[in-house]
Amino acid sequence: MDVNEKIAIDHGLKKEEFVKICDLLKRTPNLTELGIFSAMWNEHCSYKSSRIHLKKLNTKGKKVIQGPGENAGVIDIEDDDAIVFKIESHNHPSFIEPYQGAATGVGGIMRDVFTMGARPIANLNSIHFGSPQHPKTKNLLRGVVKGIGGYGNCMGIPTVGGQTSFDESYNGNILVNAMTLGLVNKNKIFYSKAAGINKPVIYVGSKTGRDGIHGASMASAIFDEKIDEKKPTVQVGDPFTEKLLLEACLELMAGKSIISIQDMGAAGLTSSSIEMASKGNLGIELNLNKVPCREEKMSPYEIMLSESQERMLIVLENGKEADAKKIFDKWNLDFAVIGKTTNTKKIELFFDKKKVAEIPINILAENAPVYNRKWKKTKLPQKIKFKKDDFKKLKITEVLKKILSLPNISSKEWIWEQYDHTVMGDTIQKPGSDAGVVRVHGTSKAVATSVDSSAIYCNAHPLTGGKQVVCESWRNLISCGSKPIAITNCLNFGNPEKEKNMGEFVECVEGINEASKFLDYPVVSGNVSFYNETKDKGIKPTPTIGGVGLIKDYKKMVTMNLKNSGNLILVIGKTEGHIDQSIFAINILSEKKGPPPVVNLFNEKNNGETILKLINEDLVNSAHDVSLGGIITAVSKMAIKGKKGFELNKPKVLINKFDYYFGEDQGRYIIEIEAKNLSNVQKILKDNLVHYDEIGLVAEKDVIIDKEPIIHIDDLIKSNKYWLEDYMDK
């Protein structure tokens, strides 16, 4: 078939991109070559719309061993230990085929981590669905949860945390973001940069099939009514093979034969081979007849574009092939020498003894298009003037029960009970907490990790929302007594060709950057998912932040459940009563306008660091950050987890009690302390200029809020526990 403009456009390329390809090649590409260009130049692989903005991100820090640009980021957690971590989206495939889409998302991110030599030690996920009333939501949720569990459970990696939200903006585009943390000796990290000429290029893992061809292009397109026809572009996962691949790779990595290694993820053999050669400033030659294939008569085009899972590409030292093969034979995995590195700086493909493609690497990688797309700033909305009389009819306890049972606040136990969260025997804080915590095996250290996003704030004002979500991640890590080290981000947005969506992206990234710099909380890896749009309707901007923090002595870890009646409850940080964009405003007052809460980075940092001081002095019995639903929701969640009651009295501040209890001001925490420690705590807070309110006591089982009628803690437990279970199973 002769390639022309129409075929190029069918491959997702723009007309001017096709012209550019012909100019750079000085000829028209053949079909295989066009396929390679379309795979390398799509949004998913090339970051063509986002690159100039991502460059601005704060990616450096004392603890950063490897920032963005590799398979995953790497941070130093002392004593030669390092954590490799990254988050990645699998949104488009999960909407088309929820089980396989989510499963292969988890498989892909784990591969990114163990490619670098790290054994995965924790998985997390951030999943977002349409309105619970939407006819697709239930099945999508069920499929995604089963897919995540199916893959992670079989691999034997605990899923220790996550986040689930429902919003009608995801009706046509759900989000599935998967994150993995791995542990590696910092002197034994493997990279994707190839080096040396005439080194054997090895293919290992599963055989190549016709699944997932054009997966990355599909992930770079908007959806229309023909979406179900795209099912064949979704890959099929095989976690058992991945488990074998993990063990085999780690076994090979224990020796010294690997020069570079890269997993075959999006755009399969194409992007893995080109990336290795490009980073090493080399050429690469592949004989496609040598590629282990699952199906008969696969063409070079199909072999290069297949996204079959559980495959790796390795550049090996000469003469090590036999030893390496032995390991893969032991694990019953394919092993094939399929090519070599060259000095041509080209990718050259051979099939049936003929050269079927020849493209200079720099054209594919460095010369890929970069767009500085037009974007529009979002103005800060006007504050809403609420009629405070409306509040008077409300009872705090009634509103609280309603909030606790909302889809976005209620317990997500139905989900995380389907994930193995205890395998590996080091999970010391389970899902449903501020952060998941796993011990660094055999040491006194532990790693805390969480995923966060706040699309409602980002939608109202992207710049503030971007800052807020980084701060929320930071607070979650602080709350369990860990020092936040670095983040990974998964930037889920609509169509970048629309100025509004592009503006949301640019401003969220700016907000993330600002907070990341101020908190010294650098971005070390990440991924961008654009075109989350169906029939002209895009999602709310949803940057997801995955954070990692270190607890030097896990015995000092703090949990959120209230411990002992009689202990004091303190609010750390100042409460101004910001109601706009809060759960209370949206769900109780039906007011969706207004600005998100202001983020004060100085207070954020100061309050967080002071909480860590209190924890290190053993003065804190439990801690939890204040987020959606304000102070009262935060205290209730601590009480529900601890099966304790509480008694609260609003301090004599000027704002009314609804603003006080339900406001979503930032930079705040709830802590439980023993009465005998009050003066010590007060001293540390005052010395550090941290505002605090004493608001009450832990009680045995009664919940008393400002002298409203007493309710039993079981009432709050019931309100919070059953929404999802009832929704899914009844």
Binding site: K146, G149, G150, N153, C154, M155, G156, D238, P239, F240, T241, K243, L244, K330, W331, N332, W416, E417, Q418, Y419, D420, H421, T422, V423, M424, G425, T427, I428, K430, R439, Y554, K555, M557, D729
Partner: protein
């Protein structure tokens, strides 16, 4: 005391079991499924996981694997064989234990703490154990124990029901049954009580920073009884 943990392709609780056994004083060795023989052992453990991907039926391929012949010989000669989770499924596939583990009643993977009641202490596993009820952890998709009426009668007649799901006070009610298992069965013995298969994982519950440390009672007691 010497123990051996068999690793099948897809096992994933092998390291956890190794850690637990060593913590309580066993000299443990890891044995690969293709190894020709099992080293001399006082206890053989089949760990949890997804042996061979569990793609056919849980434990079925492992039940026909090369190493399993040695396990069966060892068991038939009275040796102690412990199968946890996938290990329990493998034991039923080999016929060393009766019955089968079906998919959970609610068709979901379940990962949570459960209480189990110890029904029989006349054996090496539970003799002298200081507790009646243990808080352990389950993580499985196929833990719904099922057997024929005859097999159930035989289990009862021979006192083979080892542990049953219950609440913290030992009440064995359907509401405390996480997976639909017959008679709340969480684990059973062979007739001679040298083989124990159970779904809960004691190896995940071995220090107080995990969500329970009742696994300590199990392992401490087991090694004492073997001395």
């Amino acid at each position: 005391m010497k123990s051996s943990v068999i690793i099948f392709p897809g096992s994933n609780c092998d390291r956890d079991m190794d850690v637990a056994l060593k913590k309580f004083g066993f000299k443990n060795q890891m044995v690969w499924h293709n190894d020709p023989e099992i080293p001399k052992s006082d206890l053989i453990v089949l760990p949890g996981g997804f042996s061979y991907g569990d793609y056919l039926r849980c434990g079925s391929i492992a039940g026909k694997s090369k190493i399993i012949k040695s396990v069966i010989e060892f068991a038939n000669s009275g040796g102690l064989v412990l199968g946890i989770c996938n290990g329990f499924q493998i034991l039923t596939e080999t016929g060393l234990l009766p019955g089968v583990l079906l998919q959970n009643k609610y068709q979901k993977f379940i990962c949570k703490n459960v209480y189990v009641k110890i029904n029989n202490k006349e054996n090496k596993y539970f003799k002298n154990i200081k507790k009646e009820i243990l808080e352990l952890h389950i993580a499985h998709n196929e833990g719904n124990y099922f057997c024929t009426e005859e097999e159930m009668k035989s289990l009862n007649d021979n006192n083979q029901i080892a542990v049953t799901y219950c609440n913290e006070n030992g009440k064995e009610d359907e509401q405390f049954n996480p997976n639909g298992a017959l008679k709340n069965i969480a684990g059973i013995f062979s007739k001679k009580k040298n083989i124990l298969g159970m779904m809960p994982h004691p190896e995940r519950m071995i220090d107080k920073y995990l969500s329970s440390n009742d696994g300590n009672f199990f392992f401490e007691n087991l090694i004492e009884n073997l001395k």
